[in-house]
Symmetry: C2
Subunit: 307 residues, 2 copies
């Protein structure tokens, strides 16, 4: 068995419009790299962090905390070193902390001969994610581990469903370089919502699941609406309405807030449409004084992997 493994841990989009709090998908080509190394020295040690300034203390680092959760359960005869080559900007809304939390447990599991299944890995990673977001949720973890689209039916007990998706689906994501505090994104949500809106939301969500199963792009387009959360949280993202209008006019199937923002995701049928959507986003933000990044990616059906 190998003593060292290099892995790729992907970025993800959670809260997919009508799938708020339960649906997520995995992005191709955007993600962190990590090296996990078995050591004689017991414990979990973070030995290298590149890309962003993150804590080296295991208990304060998302990758460290999820690694510790697995380490305490597995009680292996060895320790682990973790090197983090962080590419996904923390706070961007495309699952930066989830990628960290997933990478360490996926790598350790591989080095230990895969004693844990994907749901169990998610369970460990939740502990790391909770350090970053102050609550136990799996909407970014599940797609990072399983790949594709995932529906987190429930966190306790943890039940994750793998939803098929059409082959020709592309995501284009714009990340305005502003900060939205998770606490603010949470505080802005109402405690109660109109029953009629809730019914609309689950009609859309059920339709989206059906559309993904049947590769019905038209239905996916008709279903990608969020009448519950978007009206509140979109207020925190400058030029949200303008971006959404522009991408829909340019052929996007739909758009929404990625995670709790500030990134805005879109889904398109085919590379060409995704390119047009990219240009449309670019145009809106180029005319502002807000710095931004744009990512374009196929749906990654594999999830976290060994490099």
């Amino acid at each position: 068995m190998k003593n060292e493994i290099k892995i790729f841990s992907p970025a993800t989009v959670a809260n997919v419009a009508c799938g708020f709090d339960v649906l997520g998908f995995c992005l191709d080509g955007i993600g962190d790299e990590m090296v996990i190394r078995k050591t004689d020295k017991k414990g979990i040690h973070i030995t290298k962090i590149e890309g962003f300034d993150l804590p080296y203390e295991t208990e304060l680092n998302v990758a460290g905390v999820s690694a510790l959760a697995m380490y305490e359960a597995a009680k292996p005869d060895c320790g682990f070193e973790i090197e983090i080559y962080k590419k996904i900007k923390p706070g961007s809304g495309i699952g930066s902390s989830a990628a960290s939390a997933v990478g360490s447990v996926f790598g350790m599991n591989a080095l230990l001969g895969r004693p844990y299944n994907k749901t169990e890995l998610t369970q460990f990673a939740i502990k790391g994610e909770a350090l970053a977001s102050k609550c136990e949720h799996a909407d970014n973890l599940a797609p990072a581990i399983f790949g594709g689209f995932t529906l987190v039916k429930s966190v306790s007990p943890l039940k994750i469903l793998e939803i098929p998706s059409p082959e020709d689906l592309y995501a284009t994501i714009i990340h305005p370089q502003i900060e939205i505090k998770t606490s603010e994104a949470r505080a802005i949500l109402p405690k109660d919502v109109p029953l009629q809106n809730a019914i609309t939301q689950w009609a859309n969500f059920g339709s989206l699941i059906h559309g993904l199963h049947t590769s019905d792009y038209d239905l996916i387009q008709k279903s990608l609406h969020d009448v519950i959360v978007e009206p509140y949280r979109s207020q925190l993202i400058p030029y949200y309405k303008e971006v959404k209008k522009a991408v829909l006019q340019n052929g996007a199937l739909g758009a929404g807030i990625s995670g709790s923002g500030p990134s805005i995701f879109t889904l398109s049928k085919g590379f060409e449409n995704a390119q047009k959507v990219k240009s449309a986003m670019e145009k809106v933000y180029s005319e502002t004084d807000i710095a931004f990044e744009i990512h374009m990616a196929r749906i990654n059906t594999e999830g976290v992997k060994v490099l």
Copy 2:
């Protein structure tokens, strides 16, 4: 082309637990019979009603009103006579008015050479259903017309999705012979619901759609929960809790209120389980002084049909 047609218009279950207001399914073997006859005399005339005491005036009869909606759109060179052999008790909560509304338009459409598709037929039938329930909804009409499980994504524009379902799924339904006024069933619903409950509901609903697609009985069981409406409406149905407890203990995948009640539906895997569920229901209600009927049926994947 024939001048007379005999049709079977099936009973249906709407508001399938977490699918409140959008999901329905069609029952095998339970339904009304109707004869539709082309006449030289113009207009829609109801010439016979057996089974239950319903109005003969076209404008006051559900089957008449939906027939009129189609008649006014099609402007045919003939008239139609309708005979209704009503088997589904009005007010039972298994789509009695929907069966009437569907039967007349389905029969007329067949006699006219099928100018309208199923969605268009539903659109006409909505007018009849509105006479009975004072609002335009299609959750019973859609499964009666399409068969199987249907998701009414939206009423305006009308968008109906056919959801596949496992072969070995049986419904057992108990109809306590009490009256629940639709107005009362509506008035008891809250205007607002907790966001957390709404999220639970759409997680369950999305999971149910996935479970139906994948014939995953375990997931169907885990998804058939209604945290939004059942807590309110179940108060209107005597011994609801007792029935639900008994059927779940006897292997039902789930239970819920059929339509706005008073019928309680259950779903089971296989005939034997459905039989056990039937006995369990029977036992609960036999010990009360409320008269009841029990129906057992496979899912009817065909919908309304020519006999």
